[in-house]
């Protein structure tokens, strides 16, 4: 039997990562950096899945993480295309200046 790092440690780390990502989404005004922070939050979700997979000795959590990585790749491709399109039409990436959907 191998001594393990408690699963709580991993879950706390995932919560910390998620909150750092959320802080970035709320505080930063650059759309690209906001995007990177969303990737951080997705990684926190991944870490939670993997921590529970080891806690329960169940490989299905690994598959969930695998699917999250694939969906994150698709999301990055679409999101960055939107960022480029917005920058082309508005000339800015500041999320406070992109308010066309608000009116």
């Amino acid at each position: 039997m191998i001594p393990l790092v408690p699963t709580q440690n991993y879950l706390i780390l995932a919560a910390l990562l998620f909150c750092i990502g959320m802080l970035g989404v709320l505080v930063r005004r650059n759309a690209l950096v906001v995007f990177m922070c969303i990737e951080l939050m997705l990684n926190a979700a991944n870490l939670t899945f993997l921590a529970f997979a080891r806690d329960r000795a169940d490989s299905l959590g690994h598959l969930s993480a695998f699917f999250i990585i694939v969906v994150a790749a698709a999301e990055a491709a679409i999101g960055l295309a939107i960022v480029i399109a917005v920058f082309r039409s508005r000339g800015t990436l500041n999320v406070e200046d992109i308010t066309i959907m608000r009116h």
Partner: protein, 169 residues
């Protein structure tokens, strides 16, 4: 303190520091490089969780493909300082920081009370747990339909990215 715990703290501290570097980076390039570092340290955490295959995917897909995409976009847009917004504190930012801190406190309390299984691993389980053979065995039998759906999703993402970033939409 076991070697595993030392490695956990090493990777955990550097992951958190790199993540903070993403949020507080002065320009998008330094944020992107901090994000690459965070992905690498997270891959180390995944190895500690015996998720070796996912750690490899993490480095290949996230640190490799997705971050190259980010850096290409930063390069294409050639952002000036004007686009980045000012760094001064506003009430909205203070509230955002408090909200993130509050969420972390709530999550920490919940995790502290969580009932965890703590399943034990014998040598046989450990030899197969999280290997590509085991993951592939489940992926190509029970989860074949989601797997194919994801391939369709990626196709849609490719077409969508091309359509959205065309010069006239």
């Amino acid at each position: 303190m076991s070697a595993q715990l030392i490695l956990f703290w090493f990777f955990a501290v550097f992951t958190a520091v790199s993540a903070l570097g993403v949020v507080f980076g002065k320009n998008p390039v330094s944020s992107a490089m901090s994000l690459v570092a965070a992905f690498f340290f997270l891959a180390g955490i995944y190895v500690l969780l015996w998720a070796h295959s996912i750690a490899v995917f993490q480095v290949l897909v996230y640190a490799g493909a997705i971050m190259v995409l980010f850096l290409f976009v930063i390069m294409l847009l050639s952002l000036s300082e004007v686009d980045l917004g000012s760094g001064k504190m506003t009430p909205a930012k203070v509230v955002g920081g408090l909200a993130a801190l509050g969420l972390f406190v709530v999550l920490a309390v919940v995790i502290g009370k969580a009932q965890l299984v703590g399943a034990s691993f014998d040598a046989n389980r450990l030899a197969t747990f999280g290997t590509l053979k085991e993951l592939g065995g489940i992926l190509y039998t029970v989860y074949l339909l989601p797997f194919e759906a994801v391939s369709l999703l990626l196709l849609v993402a490719i077409v969508g990215a091309v359509v959205v970033s065309k010069s006239r939409i």
